[in-house]
Symmetry: C2
Subunit: 558 residues, 2 copies
């Protein structure tokens, strides 16, 4: 009887928060406030996300003994706040066994000043942007935690992902030789708690939900997965913590990209269902992801102001809108840098946008330094034709101007290159590839248009002329992107198959794309690894962004 009594009365709080890596006092304050709130709501158990104590991913800070000591200290301080309530937090803990990696990635159960139970992560994602086996020993033993008559199967993120779909068909769906839930189910748990740190990818929204639904369905017990939210350099965690009932129906889902603290009765989670089923268009989510990632990059760096080179083209226009959404128009300034090759509409359109967004803008024509460079290089370049060199000089002069204002006024230059350009190397290193953060470097050009249309959904924020004009770098007379690149629809389709799906060229061709175009595009991608090596961090919204999740040798011949 006691068991049923408790199960009915028990209340559980899900705390979906935005942590700051290494900011122990900040993270602790957030966690303690959530505990207070849960106490007020009469909650028995509050669940936080994976590695919430240091923030995720702490990367090589985990190699520092003093960092781990700080984690331990913070955990115990939080345990002291757990009076009359129990909390589950994520933290690295020392592996006290003689052999193996020095740390575990742990879920710690805290109550009345103490750690009363711990579960360690068994499945350590080590692919794409994940490097967990770099730091952690995989756990091989599993036990449920008995809490007020309920058996909790406490798992950590990937622990539930023993079967998962990959975009690259070459990967195995069963990536691990162990299944934590197959072990835990032998102990007859009543509920699966999953503490997670799972970054957003617009192609994975449904797949992620399905992981939790499939476990609830298979084991006929509810699943509660608590994710963190917010940007951590390039990664954007979507929150979207999910509660699935014992029938495999979604009971509720917390908002995307927002903090949320919600309390439910165990009974309602077990069999209820309150989520409105709406299949989501990814574009608004991508928009919210980018605004979140951009905003948090500034907040967590402690820097308020940004500057964008505004060309009159759609990429920089989109970035300006995102920056204004994330930082407020007072914290964004634009610099227009026309040249002898700029068309009249470039400046006009850029000014119109800046004015409509209420953003301060300056105009500096780059002719003077461009001429100075031309004169200075004339001897060294004697007898040589004009070529891409002179185009790059213009792009680099613009970077100098942006960086100068950045240095003088303490603002971060936002990079406005898109993923299609970055892929084929259609950009100048130390020129338009410069910046502290790449805002749309994981957004294909065709999706840039979709985002612009979304921004203009109610009113014309981005002038129609910016959206309609043919894309051009304006680095020589009458230049258009299509002079060097295939049509963006075709280009993006090839890029997606090669980069995200990792299909061989032969298969992309077999499935219908033009052979010469495919081979040319792939050559451009491979050849330009060296440029991307030095690119700024890219806000990641896809399953395969350029940056830490994609590691290619530079001097390979392949």
């Amino acid at each position: 009887m006691a068991l049923i009594f408790n199960m009915t009365l028990m209340k559980l709080t899900v705390a979906q928060l935005n942590y700051h890596i290494g900011n122990f006092s900040g993270n602790k304050d957030k966690i303690c406030k959530a505990i207070e709130k849960a106490k007020t709501a009469g909650s028995d158990l509050i669940v936080f996300s994976e590695l919430c104590i240091p923030g995720y991913p702490p990367l090589d800070l985990l190699d520092r003994i003093e960092f781990i000591e700080q984690c331990n200290k913070t955990v115990l301080e939080i345990a002291g706040e757990c009076t009359g309530i129990t909390a589950i937090v994520g933290s690295p803990t020392l592996n006290k066994r003689a052999e193996g990696k020095k740390l575990f990635n742990s879920a710690l159960v805290l109550s009345e000043g103490k750690i009363i139970f711990s579960a360690n992560k068994a499945l350590l994602p080590t692919y794409d942007i994940f490097d967990e086996y770099r730091y952690f020993e995989p756990e091989k033993q599993f036990s449920v935690f008995l809490f007020k008559g309920l058996k909790l199967a406490i798992t950590i993120c990937e622990d539930l992902w023993d079967e998962q779909p990959f975009d690259n068909e070459f990967e195995k769906t069963r990536l691990y030789t162990v299944s934590p839930m197959e072990e835990l189910i032998k102990q007859d748990p009543d509920i699966i708690i999953n503490i997670a740190a799972s970054p957003f990818s617009y192609t994975k929204i449904e797949a992620k939900e399905n992981i939790f639904i499939s476990k609830a369905t298979k084991y006929k017990i509810p699943v509660i997965s608590v994710n963190q939210t917010g940007g951590q350099t390039e990664l954007i965690f979507d929150g979207a913590s999910i509660l699935v009932n014992e029938k495999g129906k979604v009971f509720n889902q917390l908002p995307f990209f927002e903090e949320a603290i919600e309390t439910y009765s165990f009974e309602s989670i077990k069999s209820g269902s309150i989520k409105n089923e709406t299949k989501s268009d990814p574009v608004p989510l991508i928009h919210k992801a980018l605004v979140t990632g951009l905003g948090d990059y500034f907040t967590k760096s402690g820097i308020k102001n940004s500057i964008i080179g505004l060309s009159g083209g759609i990429d920089s226009a989109l970035c300006l809108c995102l920056a204004v959404d994330a930082l407020g128009n007072d914290n964004v300034r634009a610099l227009l840098m026309p040249s002898r090759y700029s068309s009249d509409h470039s400046v006009k359109d850029a000014v119109a946008l800046a004015v409509s967004l209420g953003v301060r803008y300056d105009i500096i024509n780059i002719e003077k330094p461009f001429k100075a460079f031309e004169e200075d290089l004339s001897t060294v370049f004697r007898g040589k034709e004009r070529d891409v060199t002179e185009e790059n000089i213009q792009a680099r002069i613009r970077a100098i101007l942006l960086m100068a204002i950045s240095n003088k006024y303490g603002c971060i230059v936002l990079n406005t290159s898109n993923k299609s350009e970055a892929a084929v190397g259609y950009g100048t290193l130390y020129g338009d590839m410069a910046g502290g953060l790449s805002v749309i470097g994981d957004v294909y050009k065709t999706d840039v248009y979709r985002l612009a249309a979304y921004i203009n959904r109610d009113s014309e924020i981005i002038p129609e002329n910016i959206i309609k004009k043919l894309p051009s770098a304006e680095l020589r007379p009458d230049q258009f992107d299509t002079d060097s690149l295939p049509d963006y629809n075709l280009l993006d389709s090839i890029l997606y198959q090669y980069i995200e799906l990792q299909k061989p060229a032969s298969r992309i061709i077999m499935e219908g794309s033009d052979k010469d175009t495919v081979l040319k595009v792939i050559r451009m991608i491979d050849f330009n690894e060296y440029k991307r090596y030095q690119a700024p961090p890219v806000l990641r919204i896809s399953s395969k962004a350029f940056g830490a999740g994609r590691r290619m040798p530079l001097v390979a011949r392949y």
Copy 2:
């Protein structure tokens, strides 16, 4: 009797080669030529290094099914050349089990057109620059290979490193819960074969030797470890393949940073000793490492020419000497870019060096573009003091000039920043931090002087004045490095403790360094992660270089 007969007669060839990642036909040709040479020498068995088929490290090329198919195809072609001889090569192979990572990192024994045995790597280094668990499933079963009456324990690199010292005392010396040799020894092997891909680090020379010596001593059988040589982007493999006899004495060691193919009788390896014991000064090895890494970056990129900005300081002077050694003076050009702040000796010393090395040089004064920028920015900067902004503009003008010549003449800009500067952020992003490859970005300033002295060991190649002058960026009047930084001896000592040894600040201070200086230096290191994120690849000579082996969050507060 048969067994003893074979053991006495058996001959074994060690092939220490320089592979090119993804260049299957090139690697195959090299391997086949070595097989021919071994046949001529009457060898029974030839041993190549880890992942010699694709070259090491292939990184995310391993995620491509067609890359693995190409590996398989090449292996079988090589097996066809193994007539009357057996070869051990390293290649990725498919994991045909239902679960786990899709690949194994394998040693394959080839004979008469077939793969007759395979051993898979069990210990997968996943720390520093290594990411092997990203791709490979660890093997859990072990068996010796019976070859002409001899039992071979075939292991792959880290398989012998179940106990190892780490620079960071926080790491466990027993990093793995399995010891392949403890399993294999139960089958009573006669010899340990180890195929390796182990990059150079000047602090690890002895530790590496000791790993093999300790295994031979412990198991009382000889150890043969075959390493690759040559540069792979930032990594420089030293070769130095080693043969240790059954008494734990080094029988022989192949040269550092050179290809070598040597044949020995098993009997001589077993009990002989021909190595001259000379404890090596690391400086000549670092010199050879850098020349190797630099040269291979160009060879493997298919680019011949380089350009260096020559300031008259010691860093660029050292880089010029290394480039001339690696590429030949015809393939190196220098650009001198004095400013209104340059001292007379800067140009004079730089010219003297270029002349003495027979390197083409040009001089372009940066005053004209500098003035143009000052004028163009005067409105935006009205009322603001001069500060680091104007210094950065000069550094960035120089990058534009170097990149312009690079673009026009198809040469790679060599970056000349040293590790001390890179650590504390004493450099300009897109300015002196630009370049295709950082030559001395893993060399502390105090070691820059040691390398310069080594270059001048027989005659004054680098003018003494360059070595003796006080380090200065010359970006404002009478500027010296010591205005902003501690003395380099002190700075480098703190940097080494914090970066390589990963000691906490508190311990560095406790052990005798000045508290304020330590805290200031560490703040500078941490603050400048964002700059290093966009730095070129750095030739790695230490146990902890900036780049892929050191992964820090950018927006952490710690």
